[in-house]
Amino acid sequence: MAEASASALRVEHISKNYGAVTALRDVSLGVKYGEALGLIGDNGAGKSTLIKIMTGYTAPTSGAIYVNEEQKHLHSVNYARSLGIETVYQDLAMISELSVFHNMFLKRELLIPRTPFLDNHRMKREAQEFLLTLGVKLPSVDVEVSKLSGGQRQAVAIARALFMNAKILLLDEPLAAMGAREGAAILELINNLKKKNVAIIMIGHNYAQVLEVCDRINLLQRGVITYDKIVSSNSMDELNDIIIREYRIDQKQAESSAAADGANIVH
């Protein structure tokens, strides 16, 4: 059993190059059980590369990954999953045409003993009970996933990952394109998961929402972590400062290159 202070998932000095392009440079981060780490950054900052590395989809160019403080080579998604690491994408893995409980039991169906037939009653009941323990409210587990709202779908996707014994959850933009009330329900679910000792890495670019549930924030900029702090009352201001500073640098660069172009045209 790992100590309470030990990491569930930790990456150290991770770099990733695609040919001449460097996507990640010496990135180190970690998350403990019962903790939520917010990973924020703009598009192209390297967030998705980092997720792919942590779920075994791609290998890093250099660096080490530790699961429960043991170094592991995450050579495949299935292997990472067997270690309890699961990524929840917003829509990708759900089958819209199947019911909620069939989605939750997909590939681990319960059969009526000694027959090849699905035990729908038992699956329904167990799915319902499991969702209740997480505080996920649905009209029925019998409805097709296509008939759920975005928030309900996200909640089911997260519940399914846990149901498949995930202990370390990577949530990819769990609140994207969601209304305020739905978003609040998901944030509540994430808080519930922390109480159940799940380790969570939440990826997003709306940092107001990330700050609301996460214990720690890492900001990824151009492949480097530039900010790593425990969430406090002034996190918001600090992050704002960093983002605005970067925006100014970007603009200055754009202006100077535009000026150079202009000069070229004159001559």
């Binding site: 893995a93 759900m94 819209s96 997909l106 590939k107 037939f117 008939k147």
Partner: protein, 336 residues
Amino acid sequence: MSQSNTSQSQITSLRRQLTQNPVSQFFLKQREASIAIIGILLILYFETQTSVFLSRYNIINLFQFTAETAIIAAGEVMLLILGEIDLSVGNVYALAPFIMYFTVQDHFPIIVGILAGLLVSAFIGFLNGVVTVVLGIPSFITTLGSLYIINGLTLTISNGFPELTPGTGQIVNIMGGGSYSEMIWAVIVVFVLQFVLSRTRWGMYTFATGGNIIGAKEVGINTSLIKIGNFVIVAFLGGLSGILASFRISSIDPLAGGSTIMFSAIAGAVIGGTALNGGVGTVIGSLIGVIVLSIIKDGFTLLGISAFTFDLILGISILVAMLLNVRLQMLRKAGN
């Protein structure tokens, strides 16, 4: 502007009324119920117009009309759910009895001939599936190719001539010779496949593969196996249907079935609520769809509608039935 807003809200409230009414709720939930009602109305219409529609002879005729197509449609539903299609199944229908015939010519018992016909049919389905899945060719193209290959094969081995169906005795009656035997086969096939679809892993994985193949692969479903397996099922049923037909009419025709029966089967499946783009469908629905098509055909024949206008009216009827179905599906979506 404001007028269009009112009509818009009127439509919305009408839609809500429609979808919340318990009677329409039932029809929206039971995809098959709406088409079954259309079938019953058609029966009533033809019975009042001809008064022989519900006679024993016509019912038997109708059963035989329906059964062969329904058996193929049941298999085709499995593929349509996957977003795939088998255009060659009508030609397997023609080939299978010839395989049976030549096996019996080689002094094997009739039962071995039947099994050989079914085995060859299943093997053709396997090849269709492998070419589609492994080589990544759309099944529309794969099976369009095999449609011609199988047809050519049948014409070559038969020299283009029909043959008398071999076999005597009880087996003939069981395998399609008896008045009701084909319909009994069809009902068995439909119920078994519907059960497979809604109560077994195979059915669940078929829906999953058709609904979201990436998601299905993600959780570890062998989607290639599911696809190839369902190609085998539809071709096997095509062969079974062809063999039953050969015992019913006591002769084996190299030009039997073909694209006519294949298209009827697909039309029946779609009328019965199966979506051509995958993910949705029921086998029971396809049976009802095929029955409705047969009722229309049979009714028109009894009414003495000219053979020339027959296809014209049939085509329009199919379009109307499908339009109704699409409208109902939209209502279903709006209701939730």
